[in-house]
């Protein structure tokens, strides 16, 4: 690699370009944090103050008092956990059925499930809303969850993973007298745990950051998820209060960014090798 000075110069050039790009990528995050932690007089200073003249939490306290973030977090968590849990459970069983069994209409049903990927909630939202308003699910947890109880992508990925499991293992389980449900839960699930974890991460992220469907189906303030609460936090504060607004952005992105910092290899690999949509 470093055999010639020319090579070293090339590497230095790449490093400089990549580092410059990285500064641009990280700048919005950094400025969010600086604005959130700076006193109000710093926020509109020229030239810009790259480091707060002193660190203050006044904007953070203000943002915390202005909106029930604990409620938003709780709502987001309930929705994400139920949707990921159901999607994994149903996806595991459906994936097993499509991978191991041979049954009439197998391919038709599989393609039907995959075809739902072509019609995102952006397209179906109108009809889905009318349907839910008829069964009284508008403005409920069930309503937020309705299109996310299962994941076509999850079924597909888990089927692919279960196909890699040698059939002899399933046969051995049957000979030992295990029922099919037990085989799926105690034999197959541990063997495909990497894929389960990847699917869980992708679906959790998707649910956590989802905005359009929640904002459609939620009316009451106490059902808002974090992104909905964040978007509505912005409106009434016009052009002046950027400190609290950035504090709110820190509050709503902080935990996810922290989780990302701790597991970025796993998250990048999972998203890059499987795609992103839930």
């Amino acid at each position: 690699m470093w055999t010639t000075p020319l090579r070293a110069l090339g590497t230095l050039g790449i490093f400089v370009i990549v580092a410059g790009g990285a500064v641009l990528m990280i700048l919005p995050f950094y400025w969010m944090l600086v604005t959130a932690l700076s006193p109000a007089t710093d926020v509109m200073a020229f030239p810009p103050r790259w480091v707060p003249s002193h660190v203050t939490f006044e904007h953070v306290w203000y943002a915390l008092r202005k909106a029930p973030w604990h409620l938003y977090y709780w709502n987001s968590l309930v929705v994400a956990v139920v949707s990921v849990g159901c999607s994994l459970l149903f996806g595991l069983f459906a994936g097993y059925a499509f991978a191991v069994y041979r049954f009439p209409l197998q391919n038709v049903l599989f393609l039907l499930i995959l075809s739902t990927l072509m019609v995102p909630v952006q397209v179906t939202s109108v009809a889905l809303y009318i349907l839910l308003s008829r069964i009284g699910w508008v403005d409920t947890y069930a309503g937020i969850l309705a299109p996310n109880f299962g994941s076509a992508f999850g079924v597909f990925l888990l089927r692919q993973a279960i196909r890699q499991v040698p059939h002899e293992l399933v046969e051995a389980g049957r000979i030992d007298g295990a029922g099919e449900v037990r085989i799926v839960l105690t034999l197959i699930a541990p063997l495909v745990r990497t894929m389960l974890a990847t699917v869980a991460m992708i679906l959790f992220l998707g649910s956590w950051n989802d905005f359009l469907w929640p904002v459609i189906v939620i009316n009451s303030a106490n059902l808002r998820t974090v992104p909905v609460g964040m978007a509505l936090f912005k409106d009434p504060y016009g052009n002046i209060n950027y400190g609290p607004l950035m504090a709110a952005a820190v509050i709503s992105t902080g935990p996810m960014l922290l989780a990302y910092a701790l597991s970025q290899r796993f998250m990048i690999r999972g998203i890059a090798t499987t795609g992103l949509k839930g």
Binding site: M1, I14, P28, Y101, P120, V126, A127, G150, M267, I268
Partner: protein, 301 residues
């Protein structure tokens, strides 16, 4: 006859057919109810006038679509969406490829930088857009402050119909480029070193190796990214909602935002269903076109 039936049942049992249906039943029922039925109903509602509160559905044929044809707001939204897709898809793919090639080299802190490029991808679009809304502030926002600092003319960003759509595109590129870069990087690292080695021995230079070997071998990755990014781009909503709400003067209005307004602010559900149908057809057309077109560029060695 009875015996034959019984034998058939036993056979099906042995082949676990009951288990199979039992295992796929939950997902089929849920998808049927909340995804497949609404998809079909969208088509159905698009030829109706829907008055939800009165529970009245009036068949009006193609009137909704006819109205769409002459609706200047929808025209503008459709045009903006197409411009958005046409700019962001190639630009973010090209930037993704460029950075993937750079990241394919070996240099210090590589994994760290990769994580930074990818960070916008895992951040909620709403929260990130709120931050950019501050950065785009014409007076005190960081972008104009930096422009002033280096003596360049400041920009109105989101405030002018001339620059607002461009500003949204810029945000979306920042949000997406890390994803494209990481996917391209996975594609690059799957190319066997021996191909490039052979070309080097044959005297091919770096640029030639890239255009003649690397790029054709990446064709499947490129096809996937173009299609996936297009589908995502057609559905753009969150950042527009936060940054401009479609303004100024409708210059950043997009199809999903217009659909959202028609359905959930004006309760024109039938009209919104017609818009959803158009969105679906547009997405499908572009996807199929890119799929067929990309097939022509696929190579195998």
């Amino acid at each position: 006859m009875l015996r034959a039936t019984r034998r058939l049942i036993r056979q099906l049992h042995a082949r676990h057919v009951w288990h199979a249906y039992l295992f796929v039943a939950p997902i089929l029922i849920l998808f049927g109810a909340f995804r497949v039925v609404p998809s079909i109903q969208t088509l159905f509602y698009s030829v109706y006038r829907v008055e939800l509160l009165r529970g009245r559905f009036t068949f009006i044929g193609l009137d909704n679509f006819r109205e769409l044809l002459f609706d200047p707001t929808f025209h503008q939204a459709a045009r903006n969406t197409l411009v958005y897709v046409a700019v962001i898809v190639p630009v973010s793919a090209a930037l993704g490829l460029l950075f993937a090639v750079l990241f394919d080299a070996r240099f210090p802190l590589r994994e760290f930088f990769k994580a930074l490029y990818f960070a916008p991808m895992v951040t909620s679009t709403v929260a990130a857009a709120v931050v950019w809304w501050w950065l785009y502030n014409p007076q005190f926002g960081l972008f104009n402050v930096l422009l002033r600092l280096v003596g360049l003319p400041i920009q109105p960003w989101l405030m002018s119909s001339r620059t607002a759509l461009f500003s949204i595109i810029l945000f979306s590129i920042w949000k997406w480029v890390g994803y494209n870069m990481v996917v391209y990087l996975a594609g690059l690292q799957a190319i066997p070193e021996s191909f490039l080695e052979a070309a080097r021995i044959d005297g091919a230079g770096g640029v030639q190796r890239f255009w003649r070997i690397t790029l054709p071998l990446l064709a499947p990755t490129t096809a996937f990214l173009l299609i996936y990014n297009s589908i995502q781009a057609f559905q753009v909503f969150d950042q527009v909602f936060v940054l401009t709400s479609g303004g100024p003067a409708g210059s950043t209005n997009v199809i999903v935002l217009d659909l959202y307004r028609q359905a959930f602010e004006r309760y024109n559900f039938g009209y919104a269903a017609a818009q959803a149908t158009v969105l679906f057809v547009l997405t499908l057309a572009v996807t199929v076109f890119q799929y067929v077109y990309s097939k022509r560029f696929e190579v195998s060695y």
